[in-house]
């Protein structure tokens, strides 16, 4: 099968070192034995991702979604394993690199430079960013006079104009009002339609269902499953329903099985259909 792999993760692991204090941290830095422990954020993730898809990363807090996203974005490094990224990549970060003292327009230039755009590229997208941000006459006012919504909208507008081949969206769509969120989502769709790849981290299952092609379910740094969104999202929701009812000890011992939860979701689906069909026949 000659599918176009754009990101290839091979046995990715990421361990954070947690120390008992500054002294221990410095000792470890010098390569001396130090008191502390390791926290495994990613534990052997192997997966190929196909060009032109929107991939959702689902999982509880601390499951490794953001760590994986940051490794793909080239911001942090894996402790071991390889992450091969074939294309330019950028992480959508609405509030990063915004300077309070500069005007909106200057911020467009500043932030675009941080993201690595050339002067010519910036000139080309400037008007489009201003249109998208909907800040009106404020565009030539210092950023400190902006409301928080305007600020996020401008930051978001700049971020989505970076035009990388791979875009990483880590819980960044909750800016502005419903209309603006809608606009952001449709911008993502446009992005995908032009053949780009998107990694999408969110805690809102409906967004993922509505929006992603495939979803990867991570739990404690391990892949539980990777499947089409319309199967994976309801399956994952089944799991979260269980999870909220569990005690801490049960949670600790939990090893979720994708097949089992998918089976449960599909059984429920069948039963729902059966009920519907029954209703039809008895009528």
């Amino acid at each position: 099968m000659a599918q176009d792999v754009i990101v290839r993760c091979e046995n990715l692991t990421k361990t954070y070192d947690l120390y008992t204090g500054e002294g221990a941290r410095i000792m470890a830095l010098l390569g001396l034995p130090a008191r502390g422990m390791h926290y495994s954020a990613l534990d052997g993730v192997t997966q190929d991702f196909i060009r032109g898809e929107i991939v959702g990363l689902a999982g509880l807090n601390g499951s490794g979604k953001s760590t994986l996203a940051k490794i793909i974005a080239g911001i942090t490094y894996p402790t071991s394993g390889r992450c091969e990224v074939r294309g330019s990549v950028s992480m959508l970060a609405a509030n990063v690199g915004m300077n309070d003292q500069l005007t909106g327009r200057e911020n467009i230039h500043y932030k675009c430079m941080l993201m690595g755009l050339t002067r010519r590229q910036i000139a080309r997208v400037e008007e489009s960013i201003i249109d998208f941000a909907e800040v009106g006459v404020y565009i030539d006012q210092p950023l400190r006079t902006y409301s928080s919504g305007m600020r996020s909208r401008l930051g978001f507008a700049i971020s989505v104009h970076a035009d990388p081949e791979i875009l990483i969206v880590d819980e960044a769509l909750s800016v502005g009002d419903a209309a603006f969120s809608e606009k952001c989502l449709s911008r993502m769709q446009e992005f995908r339609d032009s053949g780009k790849t998107i990694f999408f981290v969110t805690h809102a299952p409906w967004q993922m269902l509505h929006f992603c092609d495939r979803v990867m379910w991570l739990h404690r740094g391990r892949t539980i499953g990777f499947d089409k969104a319309d199967v994976m999202v309801p399956t994952y929701v089944e799991f979260t329903r269980d999870w909220t009812k569990m005690e801490a000890a049960e949670r600790e011992a939990m090893e979720p099985s994708y097949a089992a939860y998918r089976e449960r979701f599909q059984r429920q689906q069948r039963e729902a259909w059966a009920r519907k069909a029954q209703g039809l026949t008895t009528e």
Binding site: Y16, E22, R25, I26, L29, A73, G74, I75, T76, Y77, V89, S90, M91, A93, V96, G97, N99, D100, Q101, L102, E106, H109, Y110, M113, L114, M115, G116, R119, P142
Partner: protein
């Protein structure tokens, strides 16, 4: 050696972007000030006035060749202020830009380099006052003034190496940055900025020779006042460049080694 070349390539490749970012940040600072760029001139002028009062009026410090103390001080103070601002701000640069580094894939070396560029951009402006003062007091330009370009290059190279080390260490070990402050204060007093190190006993003159900051500070005076070519002092020049090379090699190795740790520990 390969690491050093890679790091240097990264720095040079991203230099245009670094400069543009630095200009915007300088602009952002100025936009808060009614007097804007005037402060770039006033700050060094105030410092020069203070030291002139203490060392010339109060302590009756004598300068070499009998140049007026104020002129002599000014020629040394301008490069010192640029080097000091570069050293301190570059050392802090990774920490200060942690938010950006944690969210944007951007070469980490841009941050300290940006601090150096910012300081030198202001320096080029303040050189205007220096030149104006020199002309006003009857010190006429000579061909030796062109050697300032050499000292700009030399201090830039040295500060790059120095910043690679200090910024990397400060990012993972905060105490190092605190330690740098007293070190720079000491450097100020042993770099021949406010009093001539020539008045030290012969056996202590080595401080001046070994101190790279003093090489640049005195270098400015040699160009502007004494009219001595930098090649005449080739022994110290050779030492200076050897030290710079050493710092660049060590700094790039350190930066590469610690780079993976910055992001997770910032």
């Amino acid at each position: 050696m390969k690491t050093t070349l890679n790091v240097l390539r990264e720095i040079i490749l991203h230099l245009p972007r670094t400069i543009r970012l630095a200009l915007y940040e300088n602009r952002s600072r100025r936009s808060q000030l009614l007097l804007g760029r005037v402060w770039d001139f006033l700050n060094p002028l105030f410092q020069i006035l203070i030291y002139w009062f203490v060392f010339s009026v109060g302590l009756k410090t004598e300068t070499r060749n009998g140049f007026p103390y104020a002129i002599w001080l000014m020629c040394g103070m301008m490069p010192w202020l640029a080097m000091n601002a570069s050293s301190v701000n570059a050392a802090n640069a990774i920490q200060m830009n942690a938010h950006v580094l944690k969210n944007v894939a951007i070469p980490v070396t841009i941050m300290p380099m940006k601090a150096i560029v910012k300081a030198y951009y202001e320096h080029l402006w303040t050189m205007g006052i220096l030149v104006a003062t020199l002309l006003f007091t009857g010190v006429w330009p000579t061909l030796h003034w062109l050697e300032l370009a050499y000292y700009l290059l030399a201090s830039g190279a040295f500060l790059t190496g120095f910043a690679l080390i200090t910024s990397s260490l400060s990012a993972v070990w905060r105490d190092f940055f605190e330690f740098l402050n007293p070190v720079m204060r000491l450097m100020f007093y042993i770099s021949s900025v406010v009093w001539p190190l020539e008045s030290l006993p012969e056996n202590l003159q080595v401080i001046m020779f070994l101190n790279p900051f003093a090489y640049v500070v005195e270098g400015y005076r040699k160009c502007l006042l004494y009219g001595e070519g930098f090649w005449l002092n080739w022994q110290q020049g050779a030492y200076f460049w050897a030290l710079t090379l050493l710092l660049l090699v060590m700094g790039s190795l350190l930066n590469m080694r610690l780079r993976r740790r910055f992001i997770d520990q910032l």
